[in-house]
Symmetry: C2
Subunit: 311 residues, 2 copies
């Protein structure tokens, strides 16, 4: 192809929408941050940003939206592309896809932010090698996405890995967990706000020798072992604010090996765990690049429903 593609990428988050018009992953000239206020206002500002970008750069070939959840990813569903019931005021049943598809008349892919990040990380790897990978983010919440058999993982809805139950640690006393749905699921015990509730200070303020980090590593390792037993990933990528504490990685790796106890005898795990449980190769841009990876995928491997769109 002689003309490079033009992609619209959106990272739709609870506090801001990061929007970019780009020709490839290294092209970040045209980017903006729009606060997440009401759906009408936020989506109007998003559309206006991309309209101005199109006036300057040309026609968009595809959009990718890496969204907070829950979101309907089933293209056959009447509510495809909508945010589902969410505690975020006003955003339940907001359609993120149709306004862009109608305005810019091109394919619009949508996925969860963590699935999109998994896709972005997988697209950087060497094809077969990273065929199955899990992307976990540990911050205000805990989310997980995956790339499996050439696509992101979805089905009934999309993964909700943060709500996996984990075995309570004796050191955790009677801390009830903070998940409003499940109390002491993974997110209830190991998200940033859970650490803050348990230790009565923000996670980032805990000193490196605080016992909170050993407990945090244990809970996250229990969850990773569950993901290994369930999904058999070739790599687990961990991002998010809490994971910016580098001491967590070696602690988590050693707990994972101890918990598996030599059961899954893969050299990638037993001998190379430093490259099995890793921070994002794309660094803090993994999330933002998720939307771009989705858009690029729509051009690279269009779905039948995208090909029949009126272009």
């Amino acid at each position: 192809m002689l003309t490079p593609q033009l992609y619209g990428a959106i990272e739709a988050g609870g506090t801001k929408f990061v929007c970019a018009a780009a020709r490839d992953v290294d092209d970040t000239a045209t980017e903006t941050r729009i606060p997440t206020t009401t759906p009408a206002r936020t989506l109007r500002d998003v559309t206006e940003f991309f309209a101005a970008a199109a006036a300057e750069l040309g026609r968009f070939d595809a959009f990718g939206i890496a969204s907070f959840g829950p979101v309907d990813l089933n293209r056959a569903s009447p509510t495809f592309g909508q945010i589902l019931a969410t505690p975020k005021p006003g955003w339940s049943h907001t359609d993120l896809v149709t306004p862009l598809a109608q305005r810019f008349e091109c394919p619009v892919r949508i996925d969860t932010d963590v699935n999109a990040a998994a896709l972005a990380e997988a697209s950087r790897g060497a094809g077969d090698l990273f065929g199955t990978l899990v992307y976990v983010t540990v911050g205000t919440g805990i989310g997980g996405g995956a790339f499996v058999n050439g696509e992101t993982l979805k089905g009934l809805l999309h993964p909700e890995m943060g709500h996996t139950r984990v075995v309570r640690d004796a050191r955790d006393g009677d801390f009830p967990g903070i998940c409003p749905f499940h109390g002491d699921c993974l997110e209830g015990l190991a998200s940033g706000p859970a650490m803050q509730a348990r230790w009565r200070q923000p996670a980032e303020d805990l000193p490196e020798d605080h016992p909170g980090w050993a407990l945090e590593a244990r809970y996250l390792a229990l969850a990773l072992v569950t993901f290994v037993c369930t999904l058999s990933p070739q790599r687990i990528i961990m991002g998010g604010g809490v994971m910016s504490k580098p001491l967590l990685f070696p602690l988590i790796r050693s707990h994972v090996l101890e918990l598996l106890n030599n059961y899954v005898r893969a050299p990638e795990l037993l001998q190379q765990i430093d490259s099995f449980i890793v921070p994002p190769a794309l660094g803090h841009r993994a999330g933002a690049l998720g939307g771009l990876a989705l858009a690029a995928d729509a051009v690279r491997a269009p779905l039948r429903s995208e090909l029949t769109a009126d272009r």
Copy 2:
């Protein structure tokens, strides 16, 4: 195609190899059971059975092996098709694929028994509808396989769902679990032998009002909730000896709904759980038909490495 295909199907188990030569799933005329003794003897008998079938029925188009694990499923690996380190005497590093591929000069697919059963069940469903499903067997051990994005789930190795950790139940006292690797993982707490160790009688002898069934349903439900949060399946199929107790299904379904606590708001789960957690549509033949499904898939969607085989 005018000539119907001829498939060789093997369910390779710890006590017997069930072998069948068949033209479709309803064709079971040519079938045999070969005891699992030594690799050399068992594989010789298997090969002789299929050689006799070929003399009678014609050339095989493909073989499918649904195997006990752990087994190397990575076609790029030098040990592809081999049973990996197993406590089963003599079987570690046995190559199941090469003897058939060399003798019958056709593609040989191999997968875990539970992944193959997931494929067999998915192939019976209406395409898209059952795009993501999990197959769990609860018997002497607990195993899980999945069908995701058009293929069975594999990566680092293959899923080991039976070794997922589950939260201990207060009713379970200090029962340590029977898994030699993990003690009280799912298999350690909820397999048939775990029930027998806990209650000092075979699971099938426990009366319907025995408290063991409520505990069993609780542990299995905890695992299914993990699979829902991790894999987001559109259906979970439960087979195996322990699941032949029909009272388990309604107990498990009600625990799953209680544990999810309305978090995953999919109508298939909230309103139609009787068709979300189900026994195998293929009944007790799900395992045996797994090998057939693998062979049929090799003909329907050949891999590049299969096409370049010297035929």
